[in-house]
């Protein structure tokens, strides 16, 4: 299956492990990711924080380019996904924005395609049954808490994905790849997002609360679906934190892929944990 793909800026930078594991896992699942040619930053969060129209225009350019590909769009970053969903709605309603974008880009926008987060595609398009069949290295003995963060699931009228307060997609995926999913209270708490660079004190406090809750629940690691969530929990906790995985990293590992190229990029090293459970046996 072919999909238009928007990686977002961080997947080539701080979240390189998300980008690499996404490519590898999708290939194994038969998803062909066609990167939007010449895509730009979606504008989150400085675009929409400072100018309503600029925020939507930056996202709109990508949607117009994606529409030219004639495929449904899959987005890996939570913030990019949320901006695209919002802009898709606004671009269809706001004549000023639509007209100006048509002038700049030379094409009009119809928005006749689906925009989905990668987690949604993996769980609901590929499907958990298919994944269960393809798992060759079930992650037995690995106890995880699923951390969804904010804007993948809320607000529902924008994201149209899962439950806002008690999402289940990643929980089910964790079970499908053979790991143990623990219930906890911080599934959809906020990590402080981009305040990480400007108000480190706030983000440290939020990361501490979330990671400590994970430990309290008995988790050995946290599984996420957002570059900022992963970065903040991995980097802002301090010395004795929990490893924080992207769901694609663990999916890839369970599908039998050698994950060393991405797993050795974490700040809190996950390799001792994975080795102790004898899970590093991909090709």
């Amino acid at each position: 299956m072919k999909l238009s793909y928007f990686p977002g800026c961080s997947l080539d930078g701080t979240a390189k492990e998300y980008g690499l594991s996404t490519r590898a896992a999708c290939q194994r699942l038969g998803l062909e990711l066609m990167e939007i040619p010449d895509w730009n930053c979606c504008g989150a969060s400085s675009g929409h924080s400072t100018s309503y129209l600029l925020g939507h225009a930056l996202a709109a350019r990508n949607l117009i380019l994606a529409e030219k590909q004639g495929l449904d769009l899959v987005v890996s970053c939570a913030a990019c996904f949320a901006r695209f969903k919002r802009t898709d709605i606004v671009l269809k309603k706001n004549a000023e924005l639509d007209k100006k974008m048509e002038e700049i880009m030379g094409t009009s926008y119809k928005g006749d395609f689906k925009i989905r987060h990668l987690l949604d595609v993996i769980c609901n398009v590929v499907g958990l049954d298919t994944i269960r069949k393809k798992v060759s290295n079930p992650l037995k003995g690995l106890r995880l808490v699923p951390y969804y963060g904010c804007v993948i699931v809320r607000p529902h009228e924008v994201t149209q994905f899962d439950n806002e307060e008690q999402p289940q997609a990643m929980d089910n995926l964790v079970e499908a790849i053979g790991a143990e999913c623990l219930s906890w209270s911080d599934k959809t708490e906020c990590c402080g997002a981009s305040l990480s660079l400007t108000r480190v004190d706030i983000v440290k406090k939020l990361a501490e609360v979330i990671v400590d809750e994970g430990k309290e629940a008995g988790a050995q690691a946290i599984i996420t679906a957002c570059p900022l969530c992963q970065a903040n929990l991995d980097m802002r906790y301090g010395e004795d934190g929990l490893p924080v995985f992207y769901f694609t990293e663990l999916l890839g590992l369970a599908l039998g892929i050698d994950g060393k190229t991405w797993l050795d990029r974490h700040i809190t090293d996950p390799l001792p944990l994975l080795s102790s459970l004898n899970l590093m046996k991909g090709e």
């Binding site: 675009g47 309503y52 350019r61 100006k100 981009s194 660079l197």
Partner: protein, 194 residues
Amino acid sequence: MKVITITKTGEAEAVDPGFAELVQQKSGKELRQCYHCLKCSAGCPISFAMDWTPNQIIRMVQLGLKERVLSSSTIWLCASCETCFTRCPNEVDLPAIMDTLKEIAIRNGIKSQQAVIQIFHRVFLNCIREYGRLHELSLLASLKVLTLNLFEDMGLGMKMFNKGKINLLPTRIENIHELDAIFRAFGESKRSKI
């Protein structure tokens, strides 16, 4: 929780009775239905660091206390996590309203104690205008120079570099002129008075 006083001793604060209407019109979001149940403020993960709670900002907009709202820290600290909007019984879209308030503050040159966050947004957007994509090292370097905060996170930065998470050189998108056209049409330089 701090109490909102309408007048300070001996000096009346300017009240703009049209402010709520302006914010509603610019954001396209209704805020008069807010009856201050405080669900937003109770659920806000960052309210502990704010000078006014989210519902107090809405209340002050309703009252027309424009200057206090626009110079508050709260509007800049909102992380757009959408918890408040998700739980609001009256569907008041607080994150969108916070964005509108930030936009009005910027376009009118109003400062707050969160100057670093304002600088962050400017530097971030300059980077997007220059390259089309975020180059994290350029962003960090500019932010550190402009905020004179050179050494915080140096150790973490080195770790990230060693893990191959930092690209030294930025890449520029091919059709950067389209981004320039977008910034010309919608960017900060297009000022509008309150």
